[in-house]
């Protein structure tokens, strides 16, 4: 099956006074119709910048330096302004982390959805408004007619995120990019929003690119996951096999760190020691090497950048030490890695 979206060799750099920050450096991804791909990583790993690069929403000093983003046979990076505007909100739509600030504070919710519709469809204001109310009903907002008439600050956090989803669905996009859609919400609302996204996806068959730092969300929602670290994708594959048998030491560390609930009281939380390198001054070799328990000079971890390559048909990893047959136990020291934790997290 041809990919709906495929990103090849994407580089998005920020030209700051202190130097060039390589926020996204040679990222490759693909998304199939009806599939949910999670882009996971810590903040600053480049996952959001990757997502914004797709719709070319990068603002100076950021700039897309290289790469190709193919969507429906066209390269989004070479489209002219009108061309990319035609894709934005129409074929590829986005929802954001903070639904309150993502809405224009002085415009009614309905009017903002109407705007999204009328930017791409030649319909009357009245018809667009009717459609907006219908969309609000679709995302499970009670008394949608009245809500459309409210200003964003009058809605609760969960309702706002639902309205944001309604806005994104206005033109029935082929791809929905969700940038940390549940981070600003409480736990119950988080689950509801994720369920809503899943059911909408099942109905529309759209591809969903889910940006998140929450591995629980990944496990619950995604078909495939790509883990980013310091501007690169370090590991990618189906959620179930990747979570049960992570290949990259970083992924393994992340999964261990997630299972906080299962750490007996008084015992230290498992965490990856050290800090992510500054994007302004990337070390030679693998970016994770300095924190990696498996790193060795002999394998070239400190001198050469590992190439992102196939492990199996479906799994890819960028690590010299990775071994497809390795169990989690051998990838990570027993003390820091608990296979039962991983299963709980998954």
């Amino acid at each position: 099956m041809a990919a709906l979206l495929s990103i090849r060799g994407l580089r998005t750099w920020f030209h700051t006074r202190a130097g060039i920050a390589r926020a996204v450096d040679d990222v490759n991804l693909h998304l199939q119709p009806g599939e949910t791909l999670a882009l996971a990583g810590e903040s600053g790993s480049g996952k959001s910048v990757t997502a914004y690069s797709i719709l070319r929403l990068i603002q100076p000093p950021g700039r897309i330096e290289a790469g190709e983003i193919m969507f429906n046979g066209t390269n989004l990076l070479t489209l002219d302004d009108r061309g990319i505007r035609n894709v934005r909100g129409n074929r590829v739509a986005m929802i954001f982390q903070e639904p309150l600030s993502a809405f224009n504070p002085v415009q009614k919710v309905g009017a903002q959805i109407v705007e999204a519709i009328r930017l791409h469809r030649r319909v009357s204001r009245r018809a667009a408004y009717a459609r907006a109310v219908e969309l609000l009903a679709q995302v499970g907002i009670p008394s949608p007619g009245a809500r459309a008439h409210e200003f964003p600050h009058r809605l609760s956090g969960g309702m706002r995120q639902r309205a944001m989803i309604a806005l994104a669905l206005a033109c029935e996009p082929d791809i929905l990019i969700a940038d940390e859609p549940t981070t600003a919400l409480d736990v119950t609302t988080q689950a509801q929003i994720l369920d809503l996204l899943k059911s909408l996806q099942a109905r529309n068959g759209m591809g969903l690119l889910l940006i998140t730092h929450d591995l629980g969300v990944v496990a619950e929602t995604a078909d495939r996951v790509a883990v980013m670290y310091a501007g690169r994708v370090v590991e990618e594959g189906p959620v179930d096999t990747l979570f049960s048998r992570p290949s990259h030491p970083y992924t393994a560390g992340l999964l261990a760190a997630v299972a906080i609930d299962d750490v007996p009281p008084g015992e230290r939380l498992p965490e990856i020691s050290g800090m992510a390198p500054s994007l302004l001054a990337m070390p030679q070799g693998c970016a994770f090497a300095a924190r990696c328990p498996k790193a060795s000079a002999a394998a070239g971890c400190f001198t050469e950048s590992p190439v992102f390559s196939s492990l199996t048909l479906q799994r890819h990893v960028a690590c010299f030490a990775a071994n497809p047959a390795a169990s989690p136990v051998t990838v990570f020291p027993r003390s820091a890695m608990r296979d039962d934790n991983v299963r709980v997290a998954a």
Partner: protein, 329 residues
């Protein structure tokens, strides 16, 4: 705008209008203090230079102020009069102070409105231009213009404008509100009025234009990075639409706040501009009362203009609340 919101506005107005009371009280107290601290007794001060006022007027003033009574009683007298908006009598102009002020008020309001209109609209245009071309040539030129404009004394700018546009170029009249040598009606009158308004309004507007340009530029730059602007971009909106419909619409809010804060300063500016252009408003009246040492009139103007600032401020707050739905009345 729903019915309930409009009635809420009226409730808000009723509540806010009470704020005029402490202002009147405060200014009255201030005026009274000034009179008490000034050299000579109150009537000497108010009657201006010795011998200028008639004995009857002096006697009337002494009675008004109850000068034979202790100071607190005098203050009560003063407050009582002020509260009833009895600002006393101007001996020089032979008219009640309040009547004099009300006669001159429309001219000042007209000048302020014209100047603010110019300042707000040009400030918006220049601010948006500056923000759209940030750190490029247009932005730099506008920034230098703003910097210089900040430093221009209003009255001096007015004088120089008269030299250039009235005397040298002969384009516009330099004084008054209308041409008093001819009787004009209808459209011709309005045209004449407009011609007389241009220079004073532009002069008064200049400083605020600079302030608003800067403010709009900053606000727009801030909004360009805001989440809701990113949403608009992600919807597929054009940059022009994003600038005008989303960012500028929100930038009106800090602009209104600034306008409200500066009402007192605008009125102060009007005093100077009116005295340069012989504009028959409150400022000109204040200037005349200084020249004639008619301090009762001058103090009345101070009180009245403070009340006016308070009332205008309430109006600005109402407009603000209409612009920002997050404000609850």
């Amino acid at each position: 705008m729903t019915q309930t919101r409009i009635s809420a506005v009226f409730r808000f107005l009723r509540r806010r209008l009470w704020q005029v009371v402490p202002v009147v009280f405060g200014i009255a107290l201030l005026n009274f203090l000034i009179l008490q601290l000034a050299p000579g007794d109150v009537v000497d001060v108010l009657a201006g230079e010795a011998g200028a006022a008639t004995p009857e007027y002096m006697a009337r003033l002494r009675a008004d102020f109850g000068l034979d009574k202790p100071v607190p009683v005098q203050f009560l007298h003063y407050i009582q009069h002020t509260a009833l908006l009895d600002l006393g009598f101007s001996f020089r102009q032979n008219m009640p102070v309040l009547q004099l002020i009300l006669e001159r008020l429309p001219a000042t309001l007209a000048l302020m409105t014209a100047a603010m209109g110019i300042a707000v609209i040009s400030g918006l245009i220049l601010g948006v231009l500056s923000a759209r071309h940030v750190h490029r040539a247009a932005d730099r030129v506008i920034s230098i213009f703003v910097l210089v404009t900040y430093a221009l004394p209003t009255f001096w700018l007015g004088l120089m404008a008269i030299v250039l546009f009235s005397a040298r170029l002969g384009w516009l009249p330099s004084s008054g509100m209308t041409d008093i040598s001819v009787e004009l009606t209808g459209f011709a009158y309005l045209r004449d009025l407009a011609k007389h308004t241009v220079l004073p309004a532009l002069t008064l507007a200049t400083f605020y234009l600079a302030v608003y340009t800067r403010l709009v530029r900053t606000a727009m730059l801030e909004y360009f990075g805001a989440d809701f602007i990113r949403t608009a971009r992600a919807k597929g909106a054009t940059e022009a639409r994003i600038t005008l419909f989303h960012a500028l619409r929100n930038a009106l809010l800090p602009l209104m706040t600034m306008l409200g804060l500066q009402l007192g300063s605008i009125l102060s500016g009007a005093v100077l501009v009116e005295s340069v252009f012989s504009w028959p408003g409150l400022g000109r009246l204040a200037f005349e009362s200084v020249l004639a040492r008619d301090f009762n009139l001058l103090l009345g103007i101070l009180l009245f203009s403070s009340v006016m600032v308070t009332v205008l401020n309430i109006c600005v707050d109402v407009v603000y609340a209409f612009l920002d739905p997050r404000i609850e009345f």
